[in-house]
């Protein structure tokens, strides 16, 4: 089981993502100019400020060479997780429905929130049960999710009642594509893998994937894209 973590100019959470993944499998960084996903079983598009967030968050990063390859990987069924800025990139790339707007408060929010697992049938939530509560940090300015007409089964995580930090539609904190192999989340599971920092709940997302791949049921995408 090997995770690949994308590093764009302006990424800042890729090392935490790398260390989080290494608790559950092998992991290596993928530079934004890389096109080689050989022997990668799952891709993480991490948080930060890719390409300075110029124009709109995620708008430029989606055109990077690595994202073309990640798109092919996802089309072949490979599991892809976008976190925060990575979620924004996947939306801009059309790999996930919807868009992320500036927080209703217009402020940067940085706090621990509870999220509720709505869909445990994605490669990243299989270690969870529907209704499980996870304690994860959020830290963003552009996290107000908006997706008119999104299907209920595409909602993967919801902020617990009263904890919506950004005005997101229907308290949505994480979604998946129609096939379920591409997931985007606004909270940061990679910052919540060690009890020392207050919560290790985020590890369950990475554990889900590692377990699924080990059992050979991550979906059709566990084969590397040539």
């Amino acid at each position: 089981m090997r995770f690949g973590i994308v590093r764009f100019p302006g990424s800042c959470d890729e090392v935490d993502a790398l260390l989080a993944c290494r608790r559950f499998g092998d992991a290596r960084l993928l530079w934004h100019k890389d096109r080689d996903l050989a022997e990668i079983d799952a891709v993480v598009v991490p948080g930060g400020f890719s390409y300075g967030d110029y124009l709109r968050a995620g708008a430029i990063a989606r055109f990077s060479p690595v994202m073309e390859t990640v798109l092919e990987f996802a089309r072949a069924g490979g599991p892809v997780l976008g976190i925060c800025n990575g979620f924004q990139v996947l939306c801009e790339a059309g790999m996930l429905p919807g868009a992320l707007l500036p927080n209703r408060s217009l402020r940067f929010v940085s706090r621990q929130v509870d999220v509720v697992v709505e869909n445990p049938d994605t490669p990243f939530t299989r270690a969870c049960e529907k209704g499980d509560r996870l304690s994860l940090p959020v830290k963003h300015t552009t996290g107000r999710y908006y997706a008119p007409g999104i299907r209920a089964e595409q909602v993967v995580l919801r902020y617990a009642p009263g904890q919506n930090p950004n005005g997101a539609q229907d308290d949505i904190a994480g979604v998946c594509n129609r096939d379920g192999n591409v997931v985007g989340v606004m909270p940061h599971p990679e910052h919540a893998v060690d009890p020392m920092t207050g919560s290790s709940d985020g590890g369950r997302l990475f554990e889900s994937l590692a377990t699924a791949v080990a059992r050979g049921r991550a979906g059709v995408g566990i084969l590397p894209v040539g």
């Binding site: 124009l55 708008a59 868009a99 209703r104």
Partner: protein, 76 residues
């Protein structure tokens, strides 16, 4: 080259907290009677073929899900 201006604004019906903040601040300065403030972006560009600009808007300059755009060609 043609000078083109692209005006981008939040789509109608989408909450625009920036516009609301500006609308709320103006009365504090004594400017009453202001409604429907929206904050957007202006992109100026010189292009050889202005007919390509709408596609540029659809694919990069704007996000059509959340933003409307308007292309204005500057008078020669």
């Amino acid at each position: 080259m043609t000078r083109v201006r692209v005006l981008i604004r939040p789509k109608e019906g989408i909450l625009d907290p920036q516009g609301q903040a500006v609308e709320g601040a103006l009365p504090a300065l004594g400017f009453e009677g202001v409604r429907n403030v929206h904050v957007g972006r202006l992109i100026e560009l010189d292009v050889e073929d202005a007919s390509q600009v709408p596609e540029m808007c659809e694919r990069l300059l704007a996000n059509p899900l959340i933003e409307d755009y308007e292309v204005q060609e500057a008078a020669a």
